[in-house]
Protein backbone atom coordinates (compact mmCIF):
# COMPACT_ATOMS: atom_id res chain seq x y z
CA UNK A 1 0.00 0.00 0.00
CA UNK A 2 1.50 3.30 -1.00
CA UNK A 3 1.68 6.28 1.26
CA UNK A 4 0.09 9.27 -0.34
CA UNK A 5 -0.42 12.65 1.16
CA UNK A 6 -2.96 14.18 -1.11
CA UNK A 7 -5.11 17.16 -0.86
CA UNK A 8 -8.49 18.08 -2.22
CA UNK A 9 -8.36 20.34 -5.21
CA UNK A 10 -5.37 22.52 -4.45
CA UNK A 11 -1.68 22.42 -3.79
CA UNK A 12 -0.55 21.52 -0.30
CA UNK A 13 0.02 24.58 1.79
CA UNK A 14 0.27 25.70 5.36
CA UNK A 15 -1.78 28.87 5.29
CA UNK A 16 -0.92 30.24 8.68
CA UNK A 17 2.83 29.74 8.63
CA UNK A 18 4.53 32.77 7.13
CA UNK A 19 1.55 35.03 7.76
CA UNK A 20 2.19 38.11 9.88
CA UNK A 21 1.74 37.11 13.50
CA UNK A 22 -1.81 37.61 14.60
CA UNK A 23 -2.29 39.84 17.58
CA UNK A 24 -5.26 38.22 19.17
CA UNK A 25 -6.92 41.60 18.88
CA UNK A 26 -8.93 40.36 15.93
CA UNK A 27 -11.20 39.01 18.59
CA UNK A 28 -12.63 42.38 19.52
CA UNK A 29 -13.33 41.99 23.17
CA UNK A 30 -11.59 42.47 26.46
CA UNK A 31 -12.54 38.88 27.24
CA UNK A 32 -11.80 36.89 24.08
CA UNK A 33 -14.60 34.39 24.51
CA UNK A 34 -17.27 37.05 25.04
CA UNK A 35 -18.95 39.30 22.52
CA UNK A 36 -19.43 42.72 24.13
CA UNK A 37 -22.51 44.83 23.50
CA UNK A 38 -21.39 47.93 21.53
CA UNK A 39 -21.15 51.02 23.70
CA UNK A 40 -23.74 52.92 21.65
CA UNK A 41 -26.34 50.24 22.25
CA UNK A 42 -25.52 49.65 25.88
CA UNK A 43 -27.36 52.76 27.08
CA UNK A 44 -30.57 52.15 25.15
CA UNK A 45 -33.55 50.19 26.39
CA UNK A 46 -33.70 48.08 23.25
CA UNK A 47 -31.38 45.37 24.44
CA UNK A 48 -33.06 42.21 25.63
CA UNK A 49 -30.95 39.72 27.51
CA UNK A 50 -32.01 36.14 26.95
CA UNK A 51 -30.80 32.87 28.40
CA UNK A 52 -30.36 30.42 25.56
CA UNK A 53 -30.16 27.13 27.42
CA UNK A 54 -28.94 25.42 29.55
CA UNK A 55 -31.96 23.28 28.77
CA UNK A 56 -32.58 23.95 25.14
CA UNK A 57 -32.87 21.05 22.70
CA UNK A 58 -30.39 22.58 20.29
CA UNK A 59 -27.59 23.02 22.80
CA UNK A 60 -26.63 19.34 22.60
CA UNK A 61 -26.75 18.96 26.33
CA UNK A 62 -26.35 21.75 28.78
CA UNK A 63 -24.69 24.73 27.19
CA UNK A 64 -25.94 28.11 28.33
CA UNK A 65 -25.53 31.15 26.14
CA UNK A 66 -26.33 34.54 27.61
CA UNK A 67 -27.42 36.47 24.56
CA UNK A 68 -28.01 40.21 24.23
CA UNK A 69 -30.55 40.85 21.52
CA UNK A 70 -31.33 43.97 19.60
CA UNK A 71 -34.47 42.86 17.86
CA UNK A 72 -33.36 39.63 16.22
CA UNK A 73 -29.69 40.63 16.02
CA UNK A 74 -27.25 39.08 18.43
CA UNK A 75 -25.20 41.98 19.77
CA UNK A 76 -23.70 40.36 22.84
CA UNK A 77 -22.94 36.79 23.78
CA UNK A 78 -21.17 34.84 26.44
CA UNK A 79 -21.10 31.09 26.80
CA UNK A 80 -21.44 29.52 30.23
CA UNK A 81 -20.25 25.96 30.62
CA UNK A 82 -19.78 23.62 33.54
CA UNK A 83 -23.28 22.21 33.92
CA UNK A 84 -22.03 18.74 33.05
CA UNK A 85 -18.82 18.85 35.06
CA UNK A 86 -18.49 15.44 36.67
CA UNK A 87 -14.89 15.46 37.84
CA UNK A 88 -13.59 12.73 35.56
CA UNK A 89 -10.00 13.87 36.01
CA UNK A 90 -10.25 13.68 39.79
CA UNK A 91 -12.02 10.33 39.61
CA UNK A 92 -9.33 8.82 37.43
CA UNK A 93 -6.70 9.66 40.02
CA UNK A 94 -8.50 7.31 42.42
CA UNK A 95 -8.63 4.37 40.01
CA UNK A 96 -5.91 2.03 38.83
CA UNK A 97 -4.72 2.57 35.27
CA UNK A 98 -6.61 -0.51 34.27
CA UNK A 99 -9.92 0.71 35.65
CA UNK A 100 -9.41 4.31 34.53
CA UNK A 101 -9.70 3.27 30.87
CA UNK A 102 -13.48 3.23 31.25
CA UNK A 103 -13.62 6.95 32.00
CA UNK A 104 -12.34 8.63 28.82
CA UNK A 105 -15.11 7.04 26.78
CA UNK A 106 -17.69 8.74 28.92
CA UNK A 107 -15.99 12.10 28.60
CA UNK A 108 -16.66 12.46 24.89
CA UNK A 109 -19.60 10.12 24.71
CA UNK A 110 -20.09 10.46 20.97
CA UNK A 111 -16.47 10.01 19.93
CA UNK A 112 -15.98 7.40 22.64
CA UNK A 113 -13.64 5.06 20.81
CA UNK A 114 -11.20 7.83 19.93
CA UNK A 115 -11.14 9.11 23.48
CA UNK A 116 -10.45 5.65 24.78
CA UNK A 117 -7.63 5.38 22.27
CA UNK A 118 -5.88 8.54 23.40
CA UNK A 119 -5.72 7.43 27.01
CA UNK A 120 -4.56 3.92 26.11
CA UNK A 121 -1.87 5.41 23.86
CA UNK A 122 -0.70 7.58 26.75
CA UNK A 123 -0.37 4.54 29.03
CA UNK A 124 1.50 2.66 26.33
CA UNK A 125 3.83 5.58 25.77
CA UNK A 126 4.78 5.59 29.45
CA UNK A 127 5.12 1.80 29.51
CA UNK A 128 7.03 1.84 26.20
CA UNK A 129 4.86 -1.06 25.19
CA UNK A 130 4.90 -2.53 21.69
CA UNK A 131 1.44 -3.19 20.30
CA UNK A 132 0.86 -6.01 17.79
CA UNK A 133 0.05 -4.92 14.27
CA UNK A 134 -3.36 -6.52 14.32
CA UNK A 135 -4.38 -4.49 17.36
CA UNK A 136 -3.21 -1.30 15.66
CA UNK A 137 -5.30 -1.95 12.57
CA UNK A 138 -8.33 -3.00 14.61
CA UNK A 139 -8.06 0.21 16.59
CA UNK A 140 -7.86 2.20 13.40
CA UNK A 141 -10.91 0.47 11.96
CA UNK A 142 -12.99 1.06 15.07
CA UNK A 143 -11.85 4.67 15.38
CA UNK A 144 -12.85 5.40 11.80
CA UNK A 145 -16.24 3.72 12.29
CA UNK A 146 -16.60 5.85 15.38
CA UNK A 147 -15.72 8.96 13.40
CA UNK A 148 -18.48 8.19 10.92
CA UNK A 149 -20.83 7.54 13.84
CA UNK A 150 -19.96 10.89 15.41
CA UNK A 151 -20.38 12.83 12.18
CA UNK A 152 -23.71 11.10 11.57
CA UNK A 153 -24.91 12.27 14.97
CA UNK A 154 -23.74 15.78 14.09
CA UNK A 155 -25.42 15.71 10.71
CA UNK A 156 -28.68 14.26 11.96
CA UNK A 157 -29.07 16.56 14.93
CA UNK A 158 -27.95 19.79 13.32
CA UNK A 159 -30.24 19.22 10.34
CA UNK A 160 -33.04 18.34 12.72
CA UNK A 161 -32.54 21.61 14.57
CA UNK A 162 -32.82 23.54 11.31
CA UNK A 163 -36.07 21.78 10.49
CA UNK A 164 -34.87 18.99 8.19
CA UNK A 165 -36.40 16.31 10.37
CA UNK A 166 -36.08 13.45 7.91
CA UNK A 167 -32.26 13.75 7.88
CA UNK A 168 -32.27 12.59 11.47
CA UNK A 169 -33.91 9.29 10.63
CA UNK A 170 -31.64 8.58 7.69
CA UNK A 171 -28.50 9.38 9.67
CA UNK A 172 -29.60 7.28 12.61
CA UNK A 173 -30.33 4.38 10.28
CA UNK A 174 -26.65 4.22 9.32
CA UNK A 175 -25.60 4.98 12.88
CA UNK A 176 -27.59 1.97 14.00
CA UNK A 177 -25.56 -0.23 11.65
CA UNK A 178 -22.32 1.10 13.14
CA UNK A 179 -23.57 0.45 16.66
CA UNK A 180 -24.47 -3.09 15.61
CA UNK A 181 -20.92 -3.52 14.35
CA UNK A 182 -19.58 -2.32 17.68
CA UNK A 183 -21.89 -4.74 19.45
CA UNK A 184 -20.64 -7.54 17.25
CA UNK A 185 -16.99 -6.86 17.92
CA UNK A 186 -16.99 -5.66 21.51
CA UNK A 187 -20.30 -6.73 23.00
CA UNK A 188 -21.31 -3.14 23.69
CA UNK A 189 -22.98 -0.68 21.39
CA UNK A 190 -21.32 2.35 22.95
CA UNK A 191 -18.55 2.75 25.53
CA UNK A 192 -17.04 -0.54 24.52
CA UNK A 193 -13.92 -0.54 26.72
CA UNK A 194 -12.43 -2.65 24.00
CA UNK A 195 -8.97 -1.13 23.91
CA UNK A 196 -6.51 -2.34 26.51
CA UNK A 197 -3.03 -1.17 27.27
CA UNK A 198 -1.09 -3.44 24.93
CA UNK A 199 -3.78 -4.14 22.37
CA UNK A 200 -7.45 -5.00 22.36
CA UNK A 201 -9.52 -7.03 24.80
CA UNK A 202 -10.57 -9.87 22.50
CA UNK A 203 -9.95 -10.98 18.98
CA UNK A 204 -12.42 -9.80 16.35
CA UNK A 205 -15.09 -12.50 15.89
CA UNK A 206 -15.29 -14.19 12.51
CA UNK A 207 -18.71 -12.89 11.55
CA UNK A 208 -17.61 -9.29 11.84
CA UNK A 209 -15.90 -8.78 8.51
CA UNK A 210 -18.80 -9.65 6.17
CA UNK A 211 -21.03 -7.25 8.12
CA UNK A 212 -18.40 -4.52 8.16
CA UNK A 213 -17.85 -4.93 4.44
CA UNK A 214 -21.58 -4.58 3.85
CA UNK A 215 -21.46 -1.34 5.76
CA UNK A 216 -18.52 0.17 3.86
CA UNK A 217 -20.27 -0.73 0.59
CA UNK A 218 -23.47 0.84 1.84
CA UNK A 219 -22.00 4.05 3.25
CA UNK A 220 -21.04 5.83 -0.03
CA UNK A 221 -24.60 5.26 -1.26
CA UNK A 222 -25.99 6.66 1.95
CA UNK A 223 -23.74 9.72 1.68
CA UNK A 224 -25.15 10.37 -1.80
CA UNK A 225 -28.63 10.22 -0.30
CA UNK A 226 -27.72 12.75 2.38
CA UNK A 227 -26.28 15.08 -0.23
CA UNK A 228 -29.44 14.78 -2.31
CA UNK A 229 -31.55 15.60 0.70
CA UNK A 230 -29.54 18.53 2.01
CA UNK A 231 -27.32 19.97 -0.64
CA UNK A 232 -30.16 20.98 -2.93
CA UNK A 233 -32.39 22.04 -0.11
CA UNK A 234 -32.72 25.81 -0.43
CA UNK A 235 -33.67 26.31 3.21
CA UNK A 236 -30.64 24.35 4.39
CA UNK A 237 -28.32 26.29 2.08
CA UNK A 238 -29.66 29.67 3.08
CA UNK A 239 -29.47 28.88 6.75
CA UNK A 240 -25.89 27.61 6.60
CA UNK A 241 -23.99 29.47 3.88
CA UNK A 242 -22.18 32.55 5.11
CA UNK A 243 -23.38 31.96 8.67
CA UNK A 244 -21.04 31.76 11.64
CA UNK A 245 -17.85 32.67 9.84
CA UNK A 246 -14.50 32.10 11.46
CA UNK A 247 -11.34 33.28 9.74
CA UNK A 248 -8.25 31.09 9.59
CA UNK A 249 -6.27 33.46 11.81
CA UNK A 250 -9.02 33.56 14.42
CA UNK A 251 -9.38 29.80 14.30
CA UNK A 252 -5.67 29.35 15.04
CA UNK A 253 -5.65 32.06 17.71
CA UNK A 254 -8.58 30.32 19.40
CA UNK A 255 -6.84 26.93 19.13
CA UNK A 256 -9.53 25.36 16.98
CA UNK A 257 -8.91 21.89 15.64
CA UNK A 258 -10.52 19.24 13.51
CA UNK A 259 -13.35 20.02 11.11
CA UNK A 260 -13.80 23.56 12.46
CA UNK A 261 -10.17 24.39 11.65
CA UNK A 262 -10.27 22.68 8.26
CA UNK A 263 -13.46 24.48 7.29
CA UNK A 264 -11.62 27.75 7.95
CA UNK A 265 -8.99 26.91 5.37
CA UNK A 266 -6.24 25.52 7.55
CA UNK A 267 -4.89 22.33 6.07
CA UNK A 268 -4.20 20.38 9.23
CA UNK A 269 -5.02 16.84 10.25
CA UNK A 270 -3.02 14.95 12.85
CA UNK A 271 -3.71 11.67 11.09
CA UNK A 272 -1.64 12.92 8.16
CA UNK A 273 0.67 15.48 9.78
CA UNK A 274 1.63 13.57 12.92
CA UNK A 275 0.58 10.00 12.10
CA UNK A 276 -0.24 7.65 14.95
CA UNK A 277 -1.46 4.04 14.72
CA UNK A 278 -0.89 3.12 11.05
CA UNK A 279 -2.36 6.18 9.38
CA UNK A 280 0.85 6.61 7.40
CA UNK A 281 0.08 3.32 5.67
CA UNK A 282 -3.42 4.07 4.45
CA UNK A 283 -4.55 6.18 1.56
CA UNK A 284 -6.87 9.07 2.38
CA UNK A 285 -7.31 12.74 1.68
CA UNK A 286 -7.84 15.62 4.05
CA UNK A 287 -10.80 17.75 2.99
CA UNK A 288 -10.23 21.47 3.41
CA UNK A 289 -12.72 24.26 2.72
CA UNK A 290 -12.04 27.97 2.95
CA UNK A 291 -15.39 29.57 3.74
CA UNK A 292 -15.23 29.07 7.49
CA UNK A 293 -19.02 29.07 7.73
CA UNK A 294 -21.55 26.54 8.94
CA UNK A 295 -21.96 25.13 5.45
CA UNK A 296 -18.24 24.43 5.05
CA UNK A 297 -18.07 22.70 8.41
CA UNK A 298 -20.89 20.48 7.23
CA UNK A 299 -19.08 19.80 3.94
CA UNK A 300 -15.82 18.94 5.71
CA UNK A 301 -17.63 16.38 7.83
CA UNK A 302 -19.45 14.94 4.82
CA UNK A 303 -16.14 14.49 2.99
CA UNK A 304 -14.53 13.06 6.08
CA UNK A 305 -17.19 10.39 6.29
CA UNK A 306 -16.32 9.34 2.75
CA UNK A 307 -12.61 9.31 3.59
CA UNK A 308 -13.21 7.38 6.80
CA UNK A 309 -15.15 4.79 4.82
CA UNK A 310 -12.12 4.46 2.54
CA UNK A 311 -9.81 3.98 5.51
CA UNK A 312 -12.21 1.47 7.07
CA UNK A 313 -12.23 -0.53 3.84
CA UNK A 314 -8.43 -0.64 3.76
CA UNK A 315 -8.40 -1.73 7.41
CA UNK A 316 -10.83 -4.56 6.69
CA UNK A 317 -8.72 -5.70 3.73
CA UNK A 318 -5.67 -5.73 5.90
CA UNK A 319 -7.29 -7.35 8.94
CA UNK A 320 -8.77 -10.19 6.94
CA UNK A 321 -5.25 -11.22 6.05
CA UNK A 322 -4.21 -11.18 9.71
CA UNK A 323 -6.27 -14.18 10.77
CA UNK A 324 -4.71 -15.84 13.79
CA UNK A 325 -2.16 -13.16 14.56
CA UNK A 326 -1.80 -11.94 18.16
CA UNK A 327 -4.02 -9.03 19.08
CA UNK A 328 -2.47 -8.05 22.38
CA UNK A 329 1.09 -7.64 23.58
CA UNK A 330 2.73 -10.52 25.37
CA UNK A 331 3.72 -8.63 28.49
CA UNK A 332 2.35 -10.46 31.50
CA UNK A 333 3.04 -7.51 33.78
CA UNK A 334 0.43 -5.42 32.00
CA UNK A 335 -1.76 -7.72 29.96
CA UNK A 336 -4.19 -10.19 31.47
CA UNK A 337 -3.17 -13.82 30.84
CA UNK A 338 -5.38 -15.85 28.47
CA UNK A 339 -8.48 -17.11 30.22
CA UNK A 340 -7.76 -20.81 29.65
CA UNK A 341 -4.35 -20.57 31.34
CA UNK A 342 -5.96 -19.65 34.63
CA UNK A 343 -7.10 -23.24 35.14
CA UNK A 344 -3.67 -24.73 34.71
CA UNK A 345 -1.03 -22.17 35.58
CA UNK A 346 -0.48 -20.82 39.08
CA UNK A 347 1.73 -18.09 37.67
CA UNK A 348 -1.04 -16.88 35.38
CA UNK A 349 -3.53 -16.91 38.21
CA UNK A 350 -1.22 -14.72 40.30
CA UNK A 351 -0.73 -12.32 37.42
CA UNK A 352 -4.44 -12.12 36.79
CA UNK A 353 -5.11 -11.47 40.46
CA UNK A 354 -2.40 -8.83 40.77
CA UNK A 355 -3.45 -6.91 37.66
CA UNK A 356 -7.13 -6.90 38.58
CA UNK A 357 -6.77 -6.07 42.26
CA UNK A 358 -3.62 -3.98 42.53
CA UNK A 359 -3.21 -2.87 38.94
CA UNK A 360 -0.08 -2.69 36.88
CA UNK A 361 2.55 -0.09 37.60
CA UNK A 362 3.44 2.56 35.09
CA UNK A 363 6.92 4.13 35.17
CA UNK A 364 7.16 7.67 36.50
CA UNK A 365 7.00 10.42 33.94
CA UNK A 366 4.75 12.85 32.13
CA UNK A 367 3.50 12.50 28.57
CA UNK A 368 1.11 14.26 26.27
CA UNK A 369 -0.51 12.27 23.48
CA UNK A 370 -2.73 13.82 20.82
CA UNK A 371 -4.94 12.18 18.23
CA UNK A 372 -7.41 13.45 15.67
CA UNK A 373 -10.78 12.67 17.21
CA UNK A 374 -13.99 13.40 15.26
CA UNK A 375 -14.05 16.81 16.93
CA UNK A 376 -10.40 17.71 16.52
CA UNK A 377 -7.29 17.35 18.56
CA UNK A 378 -8.11 15.18 21.52
CA UNK A 379 -5.15 15.15 23.84
CA UNK A 380 -4.28 13.40 27.04
CA UNK A 381 -1.69 14.65 29.52
CA UNK A 382 -0.74 12.02 32.02
CA UNK A 383 1.60 12.14 35.00
CA UNK A 384 2.64 8.92 36.70
CA UNK A 385 4.56 8.57 39.95
CA UNK A 386 5.45 4.98 39.16
CA UNK A 387 2.50 3.54 41.03
CA UNK A 388 -0.63 1.70 39.99
CA UNK A 389 -2.76 4.84 39.78
CA UNK A 390 -2.34 7.92 37.61
CA UNK A 391 -1.04 10.94 39.50
CA UNK A 392 -2.72 13.41 37.19
CA UNK A 393 -4.82 13.00 34.09
CA UNK A 394 -5.90 15.90 31.98
CA UNK A 395 -7.80 15.85 28.73
CA UNK A 396 -7.42 18.43 26.03
CA UNK A 397 -11.02 18.57 24.92
CA UNK A 398 -11.67 19.69 21.34
CA UNK A 399 -15.25 20.67 22.24
CA UNK A 400 -13.92 22.96 24.95
CA UNK A 401 -11.80 24.75 22.36
CA UNK A 402 -14.64 24.86 19.85
CA UNK A 403 -17.06 26.50 22.26
CA UNK A 404 -14.51 29.22 23.03
CA UNK A 405 -15.08 30.36 19.46
CA UNK A 406 -18.86 30.72 19.84
CA UNK A 407 -18.70 34.47 20.42
CA UNK A 408 -16.34 35.08 17.49
CA UNK A 409 -18.47 32.94 15.17
CA UNK A 410 -21.66 34.70 16.19
CA UNK A 411 -20.65 38.19 15.08
CA UNK A 412 -23.54 39.64 13.11
CA UNK A 413 -25.70 36.59 13.62
CA UNK A 414 -29.43 36.45 14.18
CA UNK A 415 -30.87 34.56 17.12
CA UNK A 416 -31.99 31.75 14.82
CA UNK A 417 -28.46 31.44 13.43
CA UNK A 418 -27.13 30.60 16.87
CA UNK A 419 -28.76 27.20 16.59
CA UNK A 420 -26.94 26.52 13.35
CA UNK A 421 -23.65 27.89 14.71
CA UNK A 422 -23.64 25.92 17.94
CA UNK A 423 -24.62 22.82 16.00
CA UNK A 424 -21.81 23.31 13.50
CA UNK A 425 -19.16 23.56 16.22
CA UNK A 426 -20.27 20.05 17.16
CA UNK A 427 -19.44 20.35 20.83
CA UNK A 428 -20.19 17.47 23.13
CA UNK A 429 -20.88 18.88 26.54
CA UNK A 430 -19.44 15.89 28.36
CA UNK A 431 -16.19 16.60 26.55
CA UNK A 432 -16.36 20.31 27.29
CA UNK A 433 -17.02 20.05 30.99
CA UNK A 434 -15.36 16.74 31.79
Amino acid sequence: MSTTLQHVGRARRWPIVGDPIYEGSRIPSRVPTVMDVPAALRETDDILQVNFGPNHPSTHGVLRLIVDLDGEDVVGLSAVIGYLHTGFEKNMEQKTWWKAITYPERIDYVGYQNNELVFVLAIEKLLELEVPEKATWTRMLLCELNRIHSHLVFLGTSALELGAISMFWYCFRERETILDLFELVAGQRMHTRYFQAGGIAEDIPGGFFPEARKFVERMPVALEEYLTLLDRNQIWLERTQGIGQLSAADAVALAQSGPVLRASGVDWDLRRDAPYLAYDQVDFRVPVYTGGDVYDRYRVRMDEMAESTKIARQCIDRLERMEGEPWIADDRKVVLPPREELHTSMESLIHHFKIVTEGYRVPAGEVYVAIESPRGESGCYVVSDGGPKPWRVHFRAPSFAALQATATCSKGALIADLIAIVGSLDAVMGDTDR
Binding site: R30, G82, Q94, V367, Y381
Partner: protein, 182 residues
Amino acid sequence: MSDWSKIPGYVSTTEAYGETTVVVERDRVSDACAHARDELGFNVLIDVVATDYLHWGGQGVSGYIGTAGGRDLNLPMTQGLQALPNVKPARFSLSYHLLALRQGAPRLRLQCWLEDGDPVESIVPVWPAADWLEREQYDLMGIRFTGHPNLARLLMEDDWEGHPLRKDYPIGGEPVRFSPAE
Protein backbone atom coordinates in the same frame (compact mmCIF):
# COMPACT_ATOMS: atom_id res chain seq x y z
CA MET B 1 16.92 21.06 17.10
CA SER B 2 16.21 24.49 18.38
CA ASP B 3 18.31 26.35 20.84
CA TRP B 4 15.87 26.40 23.72
CA SER B 5 18.16 28.46 25.95
CA LYS B 6 17.22 31.59 24.00
CA ILE B 7 13.73 31.40 25.51
CA PRO B 8 13.32 34.20 28.08
CA GLY B 9 13.63 32.95 31.64
CA TYR B 10 15.12 29.65 30.48
CA VAL B 11 15.96 27.26 33.32
CA SER B 12 16.38 23.76 31.91
CA THR B 13 15.38 21.35 29.17
CA THR B 14 14.21 17.77 29.50
CA GLU B 15 13.78 15.31 26.67
CA ALA B 16 11.65 12.30 27.58
CA TYR B 17 9.38 10.01 25.58
CA GLY B 18 10.15 12.07 22.50
CA GLU B 19 8.73 15.19 24.12
CA THR B 20 10.55 18.40 24.93
CA THR B 21 9.91 20.12 28.23
CA VAL B 22 11.46 23.54 28.72
CA VAL B 23 11.26 24.87 32.25
CA VAL B 24 11.13 28.65 32.50
CA GLU B 25 11.01 31.06 35.42
CA ARG B 26 7.54 31.71 36.74
CA ASP B 27 7.60 35.49 36.18
CA ARG B 28 8.81 35.16 32.58
CA VAL B 29 6.08 32.80 31.35
CA SER B 30 4.34 35.41 29.25
CA ASP B 31 7.59 36.48 27.57
CA ALA B 32 8.53 32.86 26.98
CA CYS B 33 5.17 32.16 25.32
CA ALA B 34 5.46 35.24 23.12
CA HIS B 35 8.99 34.17 22.15
CA ALA B 36 7.82 30.63 21.34
CA ARG B 37 5.04 32.03 19.17
CA ASP B 38 6.98 34.76 17.36
CA GLU B 39 10.49 33.33 17.09
CA LEU B 40 9.99 29.58 17.21
CA GLY B 41 6.73 29.40 15.29
CA PHE B 42 4.66 27.54 17.86
CA ASN B 43 1.44 29.18 16.78
CA VAL B 44 -1.21 27.17 18.64
CA LEU B 45 -1.75 27.03 22.38
CA ILE B 46 -3.09 23.53 22.77
CA ASP B 47 -3.52 23.30 26.51
CA VAL B 48 -2.73 24.82 29.87
CA VAL B 49 -2.56 22.27 32.63
CA ALA B 50 -1.46 22.44 36.24
CA THR B 51 -0.41 19.46 38.34
CA ASP B 52 -0.39 19.33 42.10
CA TYR B 53 2.65 17.45 43.43
CA LEU B 54 1.68 17.65 47.10
CA HIS B 55 2.89 14.47 48.90
CA TRP B 56 4.64 13.44 45.69
CA GLY B 57 6.63 10.31 46.43
CA GLY B 58 5.52 10.46 50.03
CA GLN B 59 4.04 6.98 50.08
CA GLY B 60 6.82 5.38 48.12
CA VAL B 61 6.21 2.97 45.34
CA SER B 62 7.10 -0.63 45.86
CA GLY B 63 7.00 -3.42 43.39
CA TYR B 64 8.39 -4.07 39.99
CA ILE B 65 10.58 -1.43 38.53
CA GLY B 66 9.86 -0.82 34.89
CA THR B 67 12.73 0.08 32.64
CA ALA B 68 12.99 0.75 28.96
CA GLY B 69 14.16 -2.84 28.56
CA GLY B 70 10.86 -4.12 29.87
CA ARG B 71 10.27 -5.92 33.11
CA ASP B 72 10.64 -9.55 33.93
CA LEU B 73 8.85 -11.09 36.87
CA ASN B 74 11.35 -13.91 37.08
CA LEU B 75 14.37 -11.67 37.22
CA PRO B 76 15.71 -11.77 40.78
CA MET B 77 15.78 -8.63 42.91
CA THR B 78 13.06 -6.81 41.05
CA GLN B 79 10.42 -7.26 43.68
CA GLY B 80 9.96 -5.22 46.79
CA LEU B 81 12.32 -2.46 45.74
CA GLN B 82 11.39 1.06 46.66
CA ALA B 83 11.36 3.52 43.81
CA LEU B 84 11.05 7.06 45.04
CA PRO B 85 10.23 9.56 42.31
CA ASN B 86 12.50 12.55 41.88
CA VAL B 87 11.82 15.47 44.17
CA LYS B 88 9.94 18.28 42.43
CA PRO B 89 11.09 21.91 42.61
CA ALA B 90 7.79 23.22 43.94
CA ARG B 91 4.25 22.13 44.69
CA PHE B 92 2.59 22.96 41.39
CA SER B 93 3.79 22.55 37.85
CA LEU B 94 2.08 24.62 35.20
CA SER B 95 2.51 23.31 31.67
CA TYR B 96 1.72 25.06 28.43
CA HIS B 97 1.42 22.64 25.53
CA LEU B 98 2.32 24.35 22.29
CA LEU B 99 2.00 23.10 18.74
CA ALA B 100 3.44 24.45 15.51
CA LEU B 101 1.27 24.02 12.42
CA ARG B 102 4.07 22.99 10.10
CA GLN B 103 5.79 19.93 8.73
CA GLY B 104 6.44 17.36 11.44
CA ALA B 105 3.96 18.92 13.89
CA PRO B 106 6.60 19.88 16.47
CA ARG B 107 5.36 20.28 20.01
CA LEU B 108 6.82 22.01 23.03
CA ARG B 109 5.90 21.93 26.68
CA LEU B 110 6.74 25.15 28.48
CA GLN B 111 6.66 24.54 32.18
CA CYS B 112 7.01 26.65 35.28
CA TRP B 113 6.93 25.72 38.95
CA LEU B 114 5.10 27.57 41.68
CA GLU B 115 4.02 27.32 45.28
CA ASP B 116 0.47 27.76 46.52
CA GLY B 117 -0.59 31.37 46.01
CA ASP B 118 2.21 32.36 43.63
CA PRO B 119 0.81 34.50 40.82
CA VAL B 120 1.50 33.76 37.16
CA GLU B 121 1.11 36.28 34.41
CA SER B 122 -1.83 35.53 32.16
CA ILE B 123 -1.06 34.74 28.51
CA VAL B 124 -4.46 35.79 27.17
CA PRO B 125 -2.74 38.72 25.35
CA VAL B 126 -0.53 36.18 23.57
CA TRP B 127 -3.21 33.62 22.74
CA PRO B 128 -6.93 34.34 23.19
CA ALA B 129 -7.40 30.59 23.55
CA ALA B 130 -5.84 30.86 27.01
CA ASP B 131 -9.01 32.50 28.34
CA TRP B 132 -10.99 29.42 29.35
CA LEU B 133 -7.90 27.27 29.78
CA GLU B 134 -6.55 29.55 32.51
CA ARG B 135 -9.96 29.91 34.08
CA GLU B 136 -10.22 26.14 34.30
CA GLN B 137 -6.85 25.84 36.04
CA TYR B 138 -7.80 28.65 38.42
CA ASP B 139 -11.10 26.93 39.14
CA LEU B 140 -9.85 23.39 39.68
CA MET B 141 -6.27 23.97 40.87
CA GLY B 142 -6.34 27.46 42.34
CA ILE B 143 -3.57 28.88 40.16
CA ARG B 144 -3.86 32.67 40.18
CA PHE B 145 -3.28 34.33 36.83
CA THR B 146 -2.55 38.04 37.01
CA GLY B 147 -3.89 40.21 34.24
CA HIS B 148 -6.57 37.75 33.15
CA PRO B 149 -9.59 39.76 31.98
CA ASN B 150 -12.14 37.63 33.78
CA LEU B 151 -10.67 35.16 36.24
CA ALA B 152 -13.90 33.57 37.42
CA ARG B 153 -14.75 29.95 38.05
CA LEU B 154 -15.53 28.08 34.88
CA LEU B 155 -16.64 24.54 35.61
CA MET B 156 -17.61 24.64 39.28
CA GLU B 157 -20.35 26.82 40.68
CA ASP B 158 -19.52 30.45 41.35
CA ASP B 159 -19.78 30.03 45.13
CA TRP B 160 -17.81 26.79 45.30
CA GLU B 161 -15.18 26.62 48.01
CA GLY B 162 -11.77 25.13 47.38
CA HIS B 163 -10.12 23.80 44.27
CA PRO B 164 -11.18 20.19 43.64
CA LEU B 165 -8.19 18.87 41.70
CA ARG B 166 -5.73 19.70 44.45
CA LYS B 167 -4.35 16.69 46.24
CA ASP B 168 -5.44 17.99 49.65
CA TYR B 169 -9.05 18.39 48.54
CA PRO B 170 -10.99 15.67 50.33
CA ILE B 171 -12.70 12.96 48.32
CA GLY B 172 -16.38 13.05 49.06
CA GLY B 173 -15.71 16.40 50.67
CA GLU B 174 -18.93 17.93 49.54
CA PRO B 175 -20.89 18.99 52.62
CA VAL B 176 -24.13 17.08 53.18
CA ARG B 177 -27.00 19.48 53.32
CA PHE B 178 -30.06 18.79 55.46
CA SER B 179 -28.30 16.37 57.78
CA PRO B 180 -30.32 14.88 60.67
CA ALA B 181 -28.60 17.24 63.13
CA GLU B 182 -30.25 20.27 61.60
